[in-house]
């Protein structure tokens, strides 16, 4: 039975990998198939397809979905109030003579955006102005795209919706998730800074006589927003400081960020309109990840069914390394499997595998957290099929695969650092 479930997972990976089905639909189908094979009844209060997998699974990650929505709302406000663009413009104004310093500044802006909203919205926030600004001061195109992505990667350990996701998916209290993220952050930050310094110097700046700036087909001039006030530029730090230092729960921390952004940038008479407009915009931005989280919740519910746990336990126990050194070596070598929507992609089948590992108890939940957060660092930066990587590469005028080649060595080291830390702490 266990091998049948693994076979179903392989089919799911193929469907996702080949793009035959959108990931969310493939995961929902996987959840259905696994539940049926695991002997779940069609209906009933416990261990049934309709109630356990569809009804309870769909809302299993509800708190994550709300956190994602609030993060997207805050991201929309950062754009609409010109906070993000002011951060980029000020970076260029202060350091434009030194392209490497500009790139480091935009790396920091990306990290702040990544900590607020993560993935594609963060890439858009920091990259829409940040990428052409870096190219304008002479940063090579691939390095510019990678800087945005590495910056987001450095901010992800402080992305509150991600804390919520791991907490719910792996059944770990948020403070425990937060404590591991604090270990992971230095690896991500050092790798991101190293990327900018090494790649900028290795390739050197580029100055071009290009005609593009005089194109009449250039997008119409963006709406003039002016500079946001300096104190509003602290907005991305508000949720992080509240959650990290004052231990405020995630949703109120994000709400405080929303309130701070609007209070510091908007006249009282316009606050309600701006809040509502940016909230609706946030819904649009949050729709894809929320769809995914509904399907992941169903998959987690399916792999946690007693039938599935019972069937998978002997196989998983037989193949997973229990020795800490082997744990580090094997799972570090498997890092590429989280790319190209592979089986260790956390926002795909990887969530199911993590859920199964936790349910079976082959590792402590914190060791699974260490593993998956480490993979998330690689997926979030280098995966040429992830939205933020595709967008950043194409917006810079390069191929996503070029970004993969340049960033993978750095994020692989981050993953090895995270996996090793996890082994030292939890095995």
């Amino acid at each position: 039975m266990g091998f049948v479930i693994i076979g179903i997972m392989v089919v799911g990976v193929v469907l996702i990998f080949t793009g035959k089905l959108p990931t969310a639909f493939a995961l929902a189908l996987l959840a259905t198939a696994i539940a049926l094979v695991a002997g779940a009844s069609l209906s009933g209060a416990e261990n049934s397809l309709l109630t356990t997998v569809y009804q309870e699974g769909a809302v299993k990650l509800a708190s994550t979905m709300i956190a994602v929505l609030l993060g997207s709302w805050l991201g929309s406000l950062l754009r609409e109030t010109a906070i993000a663009s002011t951060l980029v413009r000020k970076t260029v104004e202060f350091a434009g003579d030194r392209p490497v310093v500009v790139a480091l500044g935009i790396l920091l802006v990306s990290a702040l955006c990544g900590s607020v909203t993560g993935s594609a919205p963060a890439a858009l926030l920091a990259g829409v102005i940040g990428i052409p600004a870096m190219i304008a001061v002479g940063i090579p195109k691939v390095t510019a795209a990678g800087t945005i992505l590495m910056g987001i990667g450095a901010g992800v350990p402080f992305e509150l919706p991600v804390w919520q996701f791991f907490s719910t998916a792996l059944n770990i209290p948020v403070p425990h998730v937060r404590s591991f993220m604090l270990y992971l952050f230095p690896f991500a930050a050092v790798a991101a800074i190293a990327y900018v310094l090494v790649e900028s110097r290795r390739r050197g700046p580029v100055h071009e006589w290009s005609m593009a700036a005089l194109s009449t087909r250039a997008p119409s001039r963006r709406r003039r927003l002016g500079d946001a006030p300096w104190f509003s530029l602290l907005t991305p730090l508000v949720p992080i400081v509240l959650a990290l230092v004052f231990l405020v729960p995630i949703i109120p921390s994000l709400l405080a960020g929303v309130v701070y952004a609007v209070v510091t940038t908007t006249r009282p008479s316009q606050m309600a309109t701006r809040l509502l407009r940016s909230l609706y915009d946030g819904f649009t931005v949050a729709a894809p990840p929320i769809t995914l989280f509904i399907a992941i919740g169903m998959l987690l519910a399916a792999v946690n069914l007693p039938g599935a746990v019972g069937a998978l336990t002997p196989i998983v126990e037989g193949v997973t390394p229990t020795n800490p050194v082997l744990y580090v070596v094997v799972f570090s070598a498997l890092v590429p499997l989280c790319l190209y929507r592979g089986p260790l992609n956390l926002f795909g089948l990887g969530a199911g595998i993590a859920g199964a590992m936790t349910a079976i108890g082959v590792y402590p939940a914190m060791a699974v957290l260490g593993l998956m957060t480490s993979y998330n660092q690689v997926f979030g930066v280098s995966d040429p099929t992830s939205t933020q990587t595709v967008w950043a590469a194409q917006y810079s005028g390069v191929k996503p695969q070029q970004v993969l080649v340049r960033t993978l060595p750095y994020v692989w080291v981050v993953a090895i650092g995270g996996i090793t830390t996890s082994a030292l702490l939890y095995l």
Partner: protein
Amino acid sequence: MTRTLRRLSAVDDIELGVRLLRGTPTNEGRDDDQLRRISAAAQRFGAELAADHSDPVDGATVVERAGGDLSLVARYLPRRGRIELFSAAVEHCETVVDRLGWSDWFPPGTVRAAAVLHERAHERITHRHAAELRTAVGVPALRLGHWTRWAFIAGADELAAHAYAGAVLGLPRSPLLITAAAMAAIEED
């Protein structure tokens, strides 16, 4: 060539500079008056730099590259000490100049020479005159009492480089005009 291209000759170099700045990121929030001041100051700086012969002789080698994107005329790679000229784009610019009847302003061979000088100007500005350009452009990034940190304005170095090339070659119009016309011709096709 359409009337639109021919009309470009009636647009002065300062306005062409404004258009370039407008198309350069981080300038979205600046109004037209400020862009005009930046354009004028940056081009004046480039022309004055051309008259300053105190800098040591520049060392970058010039390499011709076949093919490439038609909109990319040349690029300077300081790390490799190399200026690359893209022959397809250079020829395209020369053709546009010829067809618009601007050869009096830009005699044959001007584009190639201007491209090399443009990149040499970047070399001089990047290595030795970046702070002077910021001061000349005169947009404050931060004021603390009497102390002012002058802002780097994206695109200003490009305008200065065009003005430098035009001044060294003694051209009556900035090579910006060629850039605008060549890009418009690409877009028309």
